[in-house]
Amino acid sequence: MIGTGGILLLFSISVAISVGAVSVPLHTVWSILINQVAPGTIEQDWSKGREAIVWDIRFPRALLACLVGAGLAVVGGSLQAVTRNPLADPHLLGISSGAAFGAILVLMHTGMFWGLITVPLFAFGGALATTLLVLAVSQFAAATSADRLILAGVAVSFIVMSLANVLIFLGDPRATHTVVFWMLGGLGLAQWSHLAFPFAVLVICGAYIWANARKLNAMTVGDETASTLGIPVARFRLIIFVVGALITGVMVAFSGMIGFVGLMVPHIVRLLVGGDYARVIPASALFGAIYLLWSDIIARTIMAPEDMPIGIVTGLIGGLFFVWLLRRRAR
């Protein structure tokens, strides 16, 4: 299963690099990649321009797609367990809009006063604040049931998104394209120098979540039962929310808001590998990466040479999936 997934991931990355306004054959893609890692192993039969497209533009873009897809899917899967809510998703719960708010605040108003890390840091802050706000609203509205938590999330999400757009128009009244980037996401800004943040966060936070797979399993049964198994339920849930806000914040800081990945991927993964979180977490990361790679390929090719915002693709697929899920739950 993991082997097949790994091969599928490598294949998807290769296709993502090969496809675009200038199409580069797969063998050239691999030759360039190998030559970059170990210079001189393969005789150069390609132009400098192609090498720049493959190595400086498309490869980091493909890697960013993998990191963002994997991160959002892992966050969705773990939030679903701790809220015991199959509809939980960083986008629907408003965590993504909080992250976008934080990132926009830095980029258009305060400036990067701590250097490049300022953006992901503020995105994390915004994501965390929104998460706590959603939890507070659902408490305030006495919304204990699963669907109510989502409603609270959607409500807060709309408010924070509006505020984020206010920030954009205060900064530049003609910046419609900036709004589009943040609200619908995009991987076009991927650069090698930026990949370190999402990579580090995904590896560290992902490993932490994976190590706690057993607790996530227990949380799906219920708070009281999990507590009788010796799990500090309230503290564990809060930690997962904070870790989820960290991953979401950093991903959104570099890619804008890409919706429904965290909702959809874990569900499909459960159909493939079962419900044990020891398998759901790594499989979600793998499948999330593949899913976002192909969403980006579609977004780049459907109106080529224009880039369509990737959120349109994931929104369309995810929205339809959401309807199917509601129908399935209703039965």
């Binding site: 190590a211 219920g222 419900g275």
Partner: protein, 260 residues
């Protein structure tokens, strides 16, 4: 399996400081391998009492001990090796298999990262066999019937290897056949058990001792014959209760009517 000696001494509970007690001080004792039934009308404090035993709500004052060790001065993890609970909450639509759910019972015996060893696998298999669930081990929990689900939850508690088992309304939402199965199961486990039940006749059949609660007060603790007397039951439930002898079996049976 070792069974525990459960003692509660003057335990009481209130939600916050300066609020009235929801459960007034109550004391009782369950000997190893015996079954205590907790009965009373809705809102009597049954759940509150059970929650203090399965380490979910800390008593405002008083003490609960298992084999002489104070349950609330040990960590949640250590307490989880002593007391397991079968509650009414059940896994949602997360696709866990029966075996994966039973395996959760090993959680308090493992440290965070380590996976189940051969010894754990044996214990899980034994719990599945004990509940006659071997043939369902790989099934998705969501596809099971109510009675099967309840057996899975008991198997999960057994995999925890507790000394005391708490069961909250285990017969709820089950048909008669499965109610009787669960009850005979309770009797056969040989564990120290605290069980809350709605049906007083079932309680007196299954339990060695009865604790009767009303509005957070203990109305009586002792044998079913003593505690489930006509006047006490009539008063507690605001009904007219009559104890009758069934003509065939000569067993005692309570009947209830609205007071006229």
């Amino acid at each position: 399996m070792r069974t525990g000696h459960l003692v509660a001494k003057d335990v009481c509970w209130r939600p916050r400081k300066n609020q009235p007690l929801l459960l007034h001080p109550v004391s009782f004792e369950v000997y190893p391998g015996r079954v205590l039934g907790v009965v009373g009308p809705n809102g009597a404090g049954k759940s509150t009492l059970l929650r203090m035993i399965y380490h979910y709500q800390k008593p405002t004052s008083g003490q609960i001990t298992v084999d002489g060790l104070d349950l609330w001065s040990m960590s949640a993890k250590v307490a989880a090796r002593k007391v397991a609970a079968v509650l009414q909450e059940q896994p949602g639509a997360f696709g866990l298999s029966v075996r994966e759910i039973v395996a959760l019972g090993r959680t308090p015996h493992r440290s965070g990262l380590s996976s189940d060893g051969a010894r754990d696998a044996e214990i899980i298999d034994a719990a599945l066999a004990r509940m006659q669930l071997e043939h369902l081990a790989t099934r998705d929990f969501d596809t099971l019937s109510g009675g099967e689900r309840q057996r899975v939850m008991v198997a999960r508690a057994l995999a925890q290897q507790p000394q005391v088992l708490v069961m909250d309304e285990p017969t709820n939402h089950l048909d008669i056949r499965h109610q009787l199965e669960i009850l005979s199961l309770i009797r056969s486990l040989g564990l120290t058990i605290v069980v809350s039940l709605h049906d007083l006749n079932m309680a007196s059949d299954v339990c060695d001792a009865i604790l009767l609660l009303k509005d957070g007060h203990c109305q009586g603790f002792g044998s079913a014959d003593d505690v489930l007397s006509e006047p006490l039951v009539s008063d507690t439930f605001s009904v007219t209760a009559q104890r009758q002898v069934l003509s065939e079996s000569q067993n005692q049976h309570l009947t209830f009517h609205l007071p006229t």
